[in-house]
């Protein structure tokens, strides 16, 4: 209990790149509403340097938000050898899709691969659930 709780958590802008993960797809085949699927989907992988800079800690949760949505996901450092400053990785899922823009310019194709969000510490908030 410190001052921290009264202060707004600092926010940083990042881009999200989505990818496919076979373990996540496998969990989806078994049950798109299951815990394992959620465990594997509601995660953002950040550059280690970024995590330090943003004072975000492994195992904590993060709020990701933009004009289209707001979600709370688990936060982990990525295991990539090379840095990827300013970019976070998420698997394709309802969680990443919650942040995809509805602007399509009439093309019929949403910009799935261009997700810009602000990220901040989620404090005590629970991970977003679509399974109500």
């Amino acid at each position: 209990m410190g001052f921290g709780q009264f202060l707004k958590a600092p926010e940083y802008d990042i881009k999200i790149i989505t990818y496919r993960d076979v373990f996540q797809s496998t969990a989806l085949e078994s049950s798109g509403c299951g815990d394992e699927y959620a465990e594997r989907s509601a995660v953002i992988l950040l550059d280690k340097g970024d995590m330090k800079k943003m004072v975000l800690k492994d195992g904590r949760k993060a709020v990701l938000k933009n004009n289209f949505g707001r979600i709370v996901v688990h936060l982990r450092p990525s295991s990539y050898e090379e840095g990827h400053e300013g970019i976070g990785y998420m698997t394709n899922s309802p969680w990443s899709n919650a942040l995809v823009s509805s602007e399509t310019g009439g093309s019929g194709v949403p910009k799935f691969k261009m997700i810009k969000v602000s990220i901040s510490d989620a404090k005590d908030e629970k991970v977003t659930s679509f399974d109500e």
Partner: protein, 414 residues
């Protein structure tokens, strides 16, 4: 004893060498399939329920209610299709014609443009069997098959021995990966991995086309002309090359032309083919079936004898602009696969789902009709990612109806 082989419907690769063991009428063991395929062919943990307005209902009632919703709607949309047999797709097209519905499938926001270019003959393609027998240069662009189509490299492209590729992958084949991140597939490609920044695909396509035309290739990111020419040369020297195009590339292109231009150039100086990495097992079949019927691969509206086509008929635009007043969704889960800001429009209209499993969409649906899982519980035909038709038979018996039959019953009620 002759072994009996089955087909896996886990993805657009439709692996046809699956062995199974049954126990008490259920698939208990699945051999030779990848992890994803095994999950698909074994039962889902949470099968869909038959319900109307969230309350359990009989199948007959659900079918009658579904028909009523479609009949009463002014402009319904029929959507999904990638996980349906070709027969189910044809039946769905009939339902769309009868009800004057919009008809679209997942290719609309996936591989549609690429399949369209192939069917129109503006991009050269080949079969995976040819790739296995002949290909020496294999490019994965914006694709990570190790996660999306796990057996792609082992069954057809990189590792297997083929008729003209008898000496094995180390000597006979080169696999190249171009992507925005070092994926599992990129790791296998080793020093043949070319990392590019997000949205830089078009630039690299153009640079390669230039390089192959004898110009100095330039890009705005940290890849020098030497490196680009080295890549261009590998492509040029190919005896039989193939580019496997993933969603990463499709999504980053505004227009498909830069890709078509590179393919044309490659075929002037070399011998190149393109295969779309189609995700769902029969997405390509849906494109073929609608194309046969209307000349378009997706995004149509049936009105009397007329067919309207265009981006405004895509499921994304229809929902975004609130044009439709009912939806029939077959084997697809738009509540998870579409942007949340668009999918939420489905909450405001009556939705009918036909799906083997309980999905985010089926749970919000007004009518949810459980279907048998194609591949394990019902047979049919499907079109593999390379356009080859594959027939498959059921592995087990079930009392659930196949989606083709459910659609036929709905048609009967209309």
């Amino acid at each position: 004893m002759e072994k009996e082989y089955y087909v896996c419907t886990g993805c657009g690769l439709l692996c046809d060498d699956i062995e199974i063991e049954l126990d008490g009428g259920k698939v208990s063991k699945v051999n030779n399939a990848c992890l994803k395929g095994v999950a698909r062919l074994k039962e889902c943990n949470r099968p869909a329920e038959c319900s109307i307005d969230g309350a359990p209902a009989s199948l007959d009632d659900a079918i009658i209610e579904a028909a009523r919703i479609l009949k009463e709607a002014d402009s319904p949309v029929i959507f999904g299709m990638g996980n349906s047999t070709s027969q189910a797709q044809k039946n769905a097209i009939e339902v769309a014609k009868r009800t004057g519905a919009y008809f679209d499938d997942t290719s609309s926001f996936c591989q549609g443009p690429v399949v369209e270019a192939i069917l129109e003959g503006s991009i050269r393609t080949c079969t995976l069997d040819e790739v296995k027998d002949k290909a020496d240069v294999i490019v994965y662009w914006g694709a990570d098959p190790s996660n999306s189509h796990p057996r792609h490299l082992s069954k057809y492209t990189y590792f297997p021995r083929g008729k003209e590729r008898q000496r094995g992958w180390e000597e006979d084949r080169t696999a190249i990966c171009i992507d925005v991140r070092k994926s599992d597939t990129a790791t296998i490609c080793g020093d043949k991995f070319y990392q590019i920044p997000p949205q830089a695909d078009e630039e690299l396509l153009n640079a390669l086309t230039n390089g192959l035309s004898g110009k100095v290739p330039k890009v705005s990111f940290g890849m020098g002309p030497k490196k680009i020419l080295e890549l261009a040369n590998m492509l040029k020297k190919a005896e039989f090359g193939v580019i496997c195009v993933g969603l990463g590339l499709v999504y980053s292109l505004e227009e498909i032309e830069p890709l078509v231009r590179l393919m044309d150039k490659l075929n002037e100086v070399s011998n190149f083919h393109l295969i779309p990495m189609v995700g769902q097992y029969n997405m390509r079949g849906s494109n073929h079936n609608l194309h046969e019927e209307t000349g378009y691969i997706n995004r149509v509206k049936f009105t009397g004898n007329d067919v309207e086509h265009g981006a405004h008929c895509s499921v994304v635009e229809l929902l975004r602009t609130r044009t439709v007043d009912a939806a029939l969704i077959i084997g697809s889960d738009p509540m998870s696969s579409l942007p949340g800001s668009i999918a939420k429009e489905l909450l405001d209209i009556p939705v009918i789902t036909i799906d083997p499993c309980n999905t985010l969409t089926s749970r919000k649906a007004k009518v949810s009709i459980p279907a048998a899982t194609a591949g394990s519980e019902c047979g049919g035909t499907a079109v593999r990612m390379d356009g080859v038709e594959v027939e498959f038979k059921a592995m087990t018996e079930t009392d659930r109806m196949c989606d083709a039959e459910i659609l036929e019953r709905i048609m009967g009620e209309l």
